[in-house]
């Protein structure tokens, strides 16, 4: 009797361990990718939580962050850490400019108008990127510290896989600190409940919203730089896919909920890596996983995994 391939595989000694290692390795990759999605999702979820705007341009803000870092390193010969910090600061400024220039004028317009404006801003950034930086992908200069690979117990740990979740945790705690432990954060939470009343209480609502954009954009820049080091190449359209996926992560976790966005990101990252690892023949569909998950979650649990408020 001929044995099925699956049966043969199990017969070999020691394969069980290999399978476990394989599984753990994929888990690690999934968590690294997922925390990256989560990091980018922070900005989405903060902005949506406060002014109920899907900031379509968030992924493109992330792209701009990558270019700032790139030019910092290559044109101004800054050390990588200085370049990264400056890139985050510049991206924060870009976020504020975007808010002041495009979103403040449509703040009292119907929500669809704000959404269309956001789509316009997204295309503006992408095409400005194409005009100014050129469409040809540029190699991202990954610092040596991030390109090493550690091996522990048969598992490969590229430095990025270690650093990404750490950085994400750091930024997540910083954002949570701002939101729950500072006066600005209290104002943000107030605005998300009732913008008009908050304004009447003497809070400068536009300033607080700008700060939200600044924080979210800086987080996006950090995520973008990590993304650029992971796939060491940047181009003006690179923000589209991570932007969409981060948005899905935010919705998965319950949009407006920052911890939820992180969980949604992890879930999405692991699901995607597992699809590619376990069903390599379906690898071409990995970009569809996010949207499949999104549609399912919106149908069966429209407020996301951790959300409480109903979307209208």
């Amino acid at each position: 009797m001929e044995r099925s391939p699956l049966f043969c595989k199990r017969d070999r000694p020691g394969t069980g361990l290999v399978e476990l290692t394989f599984f753990l390795q994929q888990m690690i990759n999934g968590v690294a990718l997922g925390s990256l999605y989560g990091l980018i999702a922070i900005g989405y979820t903060m902005v949506y939580g406060i002014i109920r705007l899907i900031n379509f341009a968030h992924g493109d803000v992330m792209m701009m962050g990558c270019y700032f870092a790139y030019f910092g390193i290559l044109m101004f010969s800054l050390p990588w850490w200085a370049s990264f910090v400056i890139a985050m600061a510049l991206t924060a400024v870009l976020g504020v400019m975007m808010d002041k220039g495009a979103y403040v004028p449509v703040r009292n317009a119907p929500r669809i108008s704000a959404l269309i404006t956001a789509i316009g801003v997204s295309f503006l950034l992408e095409n400005l990127g194409l005009v100014v930086f050129g469409g040809r992908p540029k190699g991202f200069p990954t610092p040596e510290m991030f390109s090493e690979v550690y091996e522990v117990a048969g598992l490969m740990f590229p430095a990025l896989v270690v650093w990404t979740p750490l950085l994400t945790l750091l930024i997540l705690s910083a954002v949570l600190f701002i939101i729950y432990r500072t006066k600005t954060g209290r104002a943000m939470r107030c605005i998300s409940h009732d913008m008009e009343t908050t304004r009447l209480m003497g809070v400068d609502v536009n300033r607080i919203i700008s700060i939200t954009f600044a924080v979210g954009s800086a987080a996006a820049a950090a995520g973008g730089i990590m993304w650029a080091m992971r796939y060491p190449e940047i181009n003006p359209l690179m923000g589209i896919i991570p932007g969409f996926k981060a948005f899905v992560a935010a919705v998965l976790g319950g949009i407006g909920n920052i911890t939820g966005a992180m969980l949604g990101g992890l879930l999405l990252g692991v699901a995607e890596i597992m699809l590619v690892a376990l069903m390599p023949e379906l690898a071409g569909f990995r970009d569809a996983v996010a949207f499949g998950l999104l549609i399912l979650i919106l149908l069966f649990r429209p407020t996301g995994l951790m959300g409480t408020k109903l979307p209208d």
């Binding site: 899907i54 569909f285 569809a288 919106l298 979307p311």
Partner: protein
């Protein structure tokens, strides 16, 4: 009942005949470039008017027209390609059985494209219309992307990233403008019927519409399916105009172009959608000069490819900030208004 109904009908028939005469003149005297632009305008009218039915008239912010256009384009292209052509095109994996032997006339393939897209719209409508507002936008955006990913990965049906080549160039001015006239006529009739009234009611206040007994779910489905049908036909026409299609043609970029058109024309106005489709296509050609090097006499500006899209993005943002109602708002062209303006009179109500 409008007392001028007969006169208006006559005027509409005359206007349609005038358009047909102009099409004949263009087809016999126009250069290849002019004919190409006129074809593009007609196809964009089909796409924009049907997109406007969902986004403008019914107020459901869908971002999925690229899915229907893609499906329509692939369906009609696969139906008109001959088995021999398919064998040459499908080099990685052969085309699957029924498609590999079928060849149909152009008109059949167009109708099939419309029907298949309408079926997709109908099926998509079930999950899509459980969501509202921003979420509906994102879910439809997701579907648009999924259709593109599927087109990229089903090698034996769509030929994957290689796309389909050598599609016969059947789309003439008669086909495209014929389709445009039929689409505008049917959709305008639909909007003026009781179904259209219900769709507008949904746009202005969904809860109130529900309360007066309108089945909002099925009216949204009707708008979405009708729109899908015409977008499928538009896709078929597009495929037989450009003769080469691949998944990269049907990205969100296509949706973005249509969105600019309907926003520019005024969300909810068929007339606006037509005017804006003409302006956008013609203006897009006219704006080509910004992509090319310019010599201003004292200074030479090097050509910046892609500048056009920057300008279009700015236009979209400016419209949203300064002129939210677009060219026409929700108003429509009508003969009574024109005659009054011209002082021709006619009986008043």
């Amino acid at each position: 009942m409008d007392p001028n109904a007969n006169r208006n009908l006559l005027l509409s028939v005359l206007a349609t005949m005038l358009v047909l005469v102009l099409v004949q003149v263009a087809a016999s005297h126009g250069t290849e470039y002019q004919i190409r632009i006129l074809n593009n305008i007609a196809i964009f009218i089909v796409l924009a008017v049907s997109y406007n039915l969902v986004n403008g008239v019914t107020g459901q912010f869908s971002l999925a027209p690229n899915a229907f256009v893609a499906l329509g384009a692939y369906t009609s292209a696969l139906l008109t390609l001959t088995p021999a052509e398919k064998e040459i095109s499908f080099i990685i994996e052969p085309c699957i059985w029924p498609l590999s032997v079928i060849t149909t006339p152009f008109i059949v393939s167009l109708l099939a494209a419309g029907l298949v897209s309408a079926v997709l719209a109908f099926v998509m409508g079930f999950p899509v219309f459980r969501t509202r507002g921003d979420y509906l936008a994102i879910v439809t955006l997701g579907f648009g992307e999924v259709v593109r990913v599927i087109a990229n990965n089903t090698q034996s049906i769509t030929n994957g990233p290689l796309g389909l080549k050598g599609i016969a160039e059947y789309t003439t001015l008669w086909w495209s403008w014929g389709a445009a006239i039929v689409t505008v006529f049917l959709i305008a009739r639909l909007i003026r019927s009781s179904y259209g009234m219900a769709m507008k009611a949904i746009k202005y206040d969904e809860a109130a519409a529900e309360a007066v007994g309108i089945n909002t779910y099925w009216h949204k489905m009707l708008a979405f399916t009708t729109s899908g049908f015409f977008q499928g036909i538009g896709g078929g026409l597009l495929a037989h105009l450009i003769t080469t299609i691949s998944p990269t043609l049907f990205t969100f970029f296509l949706t973005f172009n249509l969105l600019i058109i309907i926003v520019m024309g005024g969300l909810g106005s068929t007339t606006g959608a037509i005017i804006a489709a003409v302006l956008f296509t013609w203006g897009g050609e006219w704006l080509r000069f910004v992509d090319e090097p310019m010599d201003l006499g004292f200074v030479e500006i090097p050509g910046i490819p892609g500048m056009r899209m920057v300008i279009f993005s700015c236009i979209l943002i400016f419209i949203m900030i300064f002129a939210r109602h677009g060219i026409m708002g929700t108003r429509e062209f009508n003969w009574n208004w024109l005659c009054r303006k011209l002082g021709v009179g006619g009986r008043s109500r």
